[in-house]
Symmetry: C2
Subunit: 435 residues, 2 copies
């Protein structure tokens, strides 16, 4: 089949729809270096403006997911369920979630990302455990999943190469913020994991990529419908990301907080989301209804089985299990700076974007893909929306290594907290569930 890329660009520009064959041809030829970057970027910009129909999006996603190898997990008898978050600040939920769900008899083949922009990444957090590796090739991935029912790994070069190339081009051409392009990027990678079901955590608010419930709802519906066309059960849960999740924003400190959750401790918001997501994943797997699933998840924590599973996966992936048993062994940066309340009142804002950006500036995240993450720095947040504080009371404590970086972080976080004489409504953590 020989098509004319310029004619396809024109059709998309003029509001037309491309056929399954045309979209598959574009992905195939681009991945094979037969379509130049300058044509694809023009098409991507036309998609930013004109969107994609459900048919187009399904064909585009299928073409992406088949651009490389896909996992084959058909030999695994138990259901395979994964969870993906669109990215937030202090979002460590995946870390306690995987051992909880795996300990309930559901396989979790989790492929995660690194932090970029103001958000953290599960892989960076896991790497703050000494020795822990997230580089697992597809055959070792399948073996580990069969052996212990869970993997927490990075994206393999062989899975969905089209997405990696298209994402890099989007990043350089201002074509990132497009619901169909975001949805197809996420879904092509997740569907390549050969899942029975997928839970999507779609973050909304100041610290999320989706700033409004409307946008997030669009994205959620779009991804759920891509899943339906692929015959994979997908549930999307919209959750609030106006303020960070939990107390810890960083890397090693987020592992500590994750382990606290597995011990039945930790901040209530992290516990609430972890249990809600675990229950939803068990429901998606078909092994339990919602009430039973929630009890199973709670029981996985209270029985200590989930913590044992965390130790097991840490050992399997080369990490030091002693740090899971005693998280105070994880190295935290030596200096502490306390941000204090400047006045008495109610906390009405604790801006996740500002705190996420400050965390990156401390050295805990990446401004560019090449930056090296410092696992020990980060925020521990003491005052969140709805708390009453008195002047001089700590709002957050910052673990830092470098005074210049601290200064830069403080500049970013100086306006994060707002304190008011009026008690605010506390936004619900879980906004909506879309199936």
């Amino acid at each position: 089949m020989t098509l004319s890329m310029v004619e396809l660009i024109r059709a998309k520009r003029d509001g037309g729809s491309l056929t399954d064959n045309e979209l598959a041809w574009i992905i195939r030829e681009y991945t094979a270096d037969q379509i130049p970057d300058y044509q694809l970027s023009a098409l991507l910009m036309a998609i930013v403006f004109n969107g994609m129909t459900a048919d187009e999006l399904s064909a585009w996603t299928e073409a992406m997911l088949h651009s490389g190898k896909v996992l084959d997990l058909t030999d695994l008898a138990i259901p395979k369920i994964d969870k993906h978050s669109t990215g937030g600040v202090g979002d460590k939920i995946s870390i306690p979630l995987v051992p909880i769900v795996a300990s309930c008899g559901v396989a979790v083949p989790m492929i995660s990302g690194r932090g970029l922009g103001h958000t953290g990444g599960t892989l960076d957090k896991l790497e703050s455990i000494p020795g822990f590796t997230v580089d697992i090739d597809p055959s070792a991935f399948v073996d580990q999943l069969a052996d212990i029912g869970m993997v927490m790994a990075g994206q393999s070069e062989t899975l969905v190469p089209a997405d990696r190339r298209i994402y890099a081009l989007r990043d350089a051409t201002g074509t990132v913020p497009s619901i169909p392009l975001i949805a197809s990027s996420i879904m092509s990678k997740k569907l390549a994991e050969d899942l029975d079901g997928l839970l999507l955590d779609v973050k909304v608010g100041a610290g999320a990529f989706m700033k409004t419930v409307g946008e997030a709802t669009d994205l959620a519906h779009t991804m759920v419908s891509i899943g339906a066309r692929h015959r994979t059960r997908v549930t999307a849960i919209l959750t609030n990301m106006d303020q960070p999740l939990g107390q810890a924003v960083g890397n090693a400190n987020e592992i500590q907080e994750s382990i606290a959750i597995l011990r039945g401790e930790g901040p209530p918001d992290v516990r609430e989301l972890t249990l809600a997501f675990a229950a939803e994943m068990l429901v998606l797997s078909g092994i339990a209804d919602h009430a039973k699933a929630l009890r199973a998840a709670e029981n996985a924590i209270s029985s200590g089985r989930a913590l044992e599973m965390m130790i097991l996966v840490t050992e399997r992936q080369g990490g030091d299990p002693a740090t899971i048993e005693d998280p105070s062994l994880l190295e935290i940066a030596p200096h502490t700076f306390v941000i204090e309340a400047e006045t008495d009142g109610w906390v009405t804002a604790c801006d996740a974007y500002a705190i996420g950006t400050a965390g990156v500036r401390l050295g805990g995240g990446r401004a560019t893909k090449e930056d090296v993450v410092d696992p020990g720095v980060g925020f521990s947040i003491d005052a969140k929306i709805g708390d009453y504080v008195t002047k001089g009371q700590p709002l957050a404590r910052i673990a830092y290594r470098d005074t210049a970086k601290l200064k830069s972080a403080l500049a970013a976080s100086s306006t994060a907290w707002e304190i008011s004489p009026n008690k605010p409504a506390i936004p619900p953590l879980i906004i909506e569930t879309i199936r």
Copy 2:
């Protein structure tokens, strides 16, 4: 100055405006290979959707026109006026126009283009005169203009290199149809000629790139306002291009028709436009008011001076002057096919796009830039809108060389003529003048 191209793309995508410095930086860095094609094409697509403000357009055009050398005609005492057409079918007006205007004491430094798509190009038509060259370097161009007051040349590689590169990218990325991009492309090339005034023939209709008066008016106003900001007088005349101009559509046959005009003969529509444009150029030059200008143009023809000027420029550019004195010496393809009316009635359509496309298929134009033009083939149109024909009467005669190409041309032109029992209104040739 270091700017971030991706931030500029995002700003344009989101409906923002770029500054003069930002736009100049983009043109400069792109021309210097410091901005990759894939970023510029994304920006161009964002411009297709979001347009440009008058300030942006002026800065973008100035940056383009200064991307290479510009002509310096300050030593030339007489006014310098050029004319540009947005492209049509049978549009040979430039060829009689240049010697008429030059013979009235106004210098015409005309830089023309080649045919592309369904339209013909002045350069291709001139090259059907044996020996005639349109490749004239900038210093010979200035010398010839000083000596005989007129040049008919192609674009030099050194003038406006940014436009050549950007146009090639637009052609490959579906970013051609944008009023600001079209206007800046035309105006940057014309303003680089160091003109005192410019006449724009903005074609409207089936055979033009602008299909509606609304689009053409937009384009005309946009170009006039670019001229005003550059302190160059610009007049735009909207003219009808539903049907071809004159009888001849081809190359050698269009030269024959042009010479007929210079002899006071030829089709009335070609004569009308030529005289109107000549008068407008003389008005733009400031040497005459409209009534006087029109008489001067008519007199240039009736006195034979314009024809002498055509002989002069032909000699100067290496062409055989005998073919101007006796245009029957120009080689016309040996075979003739007559398209006959299938019924009695009034001609209500004589589709310029269909006939232009048929002319290209005969070999008289280019499907790709590499194609070689056959100067001898073409249409001679006998029946135009408003004519009454009887069944079997010739609508057009086709001069052809190759039967397969004739067949292909006839397929394209088969629906060009519409014949109706009702007499149609004849569309006015000159629609509007915008100053």
